[in-house]
């Protein structure tokens, strides 16, 4: 079930990229990022009101816990910079490399509160297939 949900998130991201790309073509990268965040924030306020969730400031949470939104904007900035020089497919492939390596390292050491899932050598075969697949996609 969690696996299916994860793949569904990916499908949503594909739709989102298509939609945001259309907006970005009309307004430019930075203006559209602002518009996207305004719409997102408004819909989130709507969800909070609808679900009657209370929004209280919990004390003692480290500041970096709130940094995900900022990191997301840096992701967009870095991708924009790289798209213009390296093209879409190379940027995506390198981004996927960064995602894969960092998640393997995070799993292996259980960083940032994640469960420790040690990397096993016998999984290398699967990893080679995955790398090969990404290469095929990037080249063709």
């Amino acid at each position: 079930m969690n696996n299916l949900l994860s793949a569904f998130i990916g499908a949503l991201i594909a739709v989102m990229i298509m939609i945001n790309g259309t907006l970005s073509n009309a307004f430019g990268n930075y203006t559209s990022t602002v518009i996207i965040h305004i719409i997102g924030l408004l819909s989130m306020i709507f969800v909070l009101l609808l679900s009657r969730s209370n929004l209280k400031i919990v004390k003692g949470i480290p500041l970096y816990f709130y940094s995900a939104g900022a990191i997301g904007v840096f992701t967009v900035l870095f991708n924009n910079l790289s798209f213009s020089k390296l093209g879409v497919s190379i940027t995506l492939a390198l981004g996927l490399l960064g995602q894969s390596l960092s998640s393997i390292i995070i799993d292996h050491f259980g960083l940032m509160g994640m469960k420790v899932i040690k990397f096993q050598k016998r999984k290398l075969f699967g990893l080679i297939l995955i790398t090969l697949g990404i290469l095929v996609m990037t080249i063709f």
Partner: protein, 147 residues
């Protein structure tokens, strides 16, 4: 080399922000966490817009050439972050990365097929390779759980 590095860092940042978000969600709730994600994100995107000196073309706001759905990406994004915060603590970071990628890839192929009417053979073959590699490793995990 600079552009290669920032592409890789962009990938790392995707995983890191996902985990940070889910950690915040565990403390203050998934909806509340997503709310702060957008508050901080809006502040930073306004800052970047200011620094970039990109001109806001108000004329585009009135133009009919942009369909209404083009403005709804933020809405889809909210759904993505809510669901990610829910599922991140439940499965390994690496599998989540791969499963999201596979969903994105195959749905992207379907979108391309219907909007551009073209089918990318390289993406399909590559996607099947990625999928089989993931399936193989998932199988190893299943076996280990049983023993």
């Amino acid at each position: 080399m600079f552009y290669i590095s920032i592409s890789v860092i962009a990938g790392v940042s995707v995983v890191v922000s996902r985990i940070i978000n889910s950690n915040l969600a565990k403390i203050i709730g998934i909806f509340q966490g997503t709310f702060f994600n957008y508050v901080i994100g809006l502040v930073f995107s306004l800052m970047f817009l200011f620094i970039s000196k990109e001109t806001i073309q108000i004329s585009n706001l009135q133009s009919k050439s942009i369909p209404l759905w083009a403005y709804l990406g933020g809405l889809v994004g909210v759904l993505v972050i809510v669901l990610s915060s829910y599922v991140t603590p439940k499965i390994s970071a690496f599998y989540l990365t791969l499963l999201i990628f596979i969903g994105q890839l195959f749905f992207g192929i379907i979108i391309d097929f219907f909007t551009l009417e073209k089918l990318s053979l390289g993406k399909i073959i590559g996607g099947i390779l990625v999928l089989s590699g993931l399936a193989y490793n998932l199988m190893l995990d299943k076996k280990q759980e049983l023993t």
